[in-house]
Amino acid sequence: MNWVAYRKPESIVEALALLDEAAGRGRVMAGGTDLIPQLRQREYGADLLVDITGIEELKHIREDDGWIQIGAAVTHAEVAKNSLIRKEARALAEGCAQVGSPQIRNMATLVGNVISAQPAADGAIPLTALEAEIKVASKAGERWVSMEETYREVGVSSVDASRELATMVRFKKLGGKGQTRFFRMCRRKALALPILNGAVVILLDSSLKRIQEARIALGPVAEKPFRPRDAEAYLQSKEISPEIILEAARIASVQANPRTSLLRGSDAYRKEMIRLYLARTIQDLLGGR
């Protein structure tokens, strides 16, 4: 295998000290489900794997002052069955329930899903619609990075896992007027990469007849999760009706720019599917309102 040493620190401080000692030749590992195959195929090597799944302070899912926080050692399986997430951010629970396979979900972490920086990551898509932020710790201190900033290019995160440690993801609790949904189109129900996926977050205003805020994230139609901002703005501009849902879905499909791929189908087909899936998802979310 393409690494030399393995350590499982018990605190963030210890993990950062190990990375510092390795001087750029260390690598943070959480579930390892992306990292180990990459190391095996010698896409890169590491002198030291720093396994963060033994760090107790990274294992929480909690609500704190209006924010929902999920630690970097929390797996997709844990997010998917967590009652707080199911209640407050259903799209995230739905997305996490579709990552990989049951075994992968028992190992792979939600924060790792973001750091792997794939544009259609089933955990990262709902987090993008939730406008989540990642907390990054390093020797220099701590900083918060928005979901969009974490993506540098396909498969490359702006979080440098050889020097920095993403410790948690957080997002604002939506409360009673907020609703979220996730959709996924794939060839098989398990272990199949998505042809398309997306998440919708909608906050109603106090009249419940208008959308105060709409956020949509789509993948894989760009290098990172894509926000069709014109479609979001359109949803906010008029009273809710079946017609505005169809029109918003149409706008999103025009804005999105999926590439033709042998695996995922043609550009034209996937644009049409964006329109269809998005309209159904928003209709389902608004429940015939």
Binding site: Y6, K8, N106, A190
Partner: protein, 174 residues
């Protein structure tokens, strides 16, 4: 050559101490160092499920786990599912239902099924399908595997219900 490191793991009910290189993968430790070849090596990239073992109560893939990560962990492989010369109800059901053809996926299937039944003793068909969705079988078409898991669940549940009242009463505090 990297230095050998010690790890302690509870393997199929018995604590063991072994030495291994830090870059060893759990699957190779089990198969090649400890001789437990029931756990199969398939794709080695987390897609086929042939290497599924139960670690700390959860189905995981031994091909993606550094061996040292198992330090302090409890691991169950197919060899530990039933006492010597006996079959676990799931193994018995796979046998009776004809859920085994070439057999390569079978150990992983059994452990994914066991992880399911440990958490949900009476699953429905859809829950069974979901639980084994990370285990590929290229022979059976899955129908008989699903039937076997449901049959084992039925049998285990009936057996637990048919325990003598006196035995159950002993477990209930006065």
């Amino acid at each position: 050559m990297a230095d050998l490191k010690k790890l302690r793991l509870k393997l199929n009910g018995t604590w063991r101490e072994v030495e291994t290189r830090p870059d060893r993968i759990l699957l190779d430790l089990l198969r090649e160092d400890l001789g437990l070849t029931g756990t199969k090596k398939g794709c080695e990239r987390g897609e086929c499920g042939a290497c599924t073992v139960i670690m700390n109560g959860q189905a995981v893939l031994a091909c993606l786990i550094p061996a040292l990560k198992a330090d302090g962990a409890e691991i169950l492989t197919v060899e530990g599912m039933a006492p010597k010369d006996r079959l676990h109800p799931l193994q018995q059901a796979f046998w009776e239902e004809g859920a085994v053809q070439c057999g390569y996926c079978t150990p992983g299937m059994l452990l994914s099924a066991k992880a399911l039944l440990d958490e949900n003793p009476e699953p429905g068909v859809e829950e069974v399908k979901k639980a084994i969705s990370g285990n590929l079988c290229r022979c059976t078409g899955y129908t008989k595997i699903i039937a076997a898991i449901l049959a084992a669940s039925d049998k285990m549940h009936k057996e637990s219900r048919m325990r003598p009242v006196e035995e159950i009463e002993k477990e209930v505090p006065e």
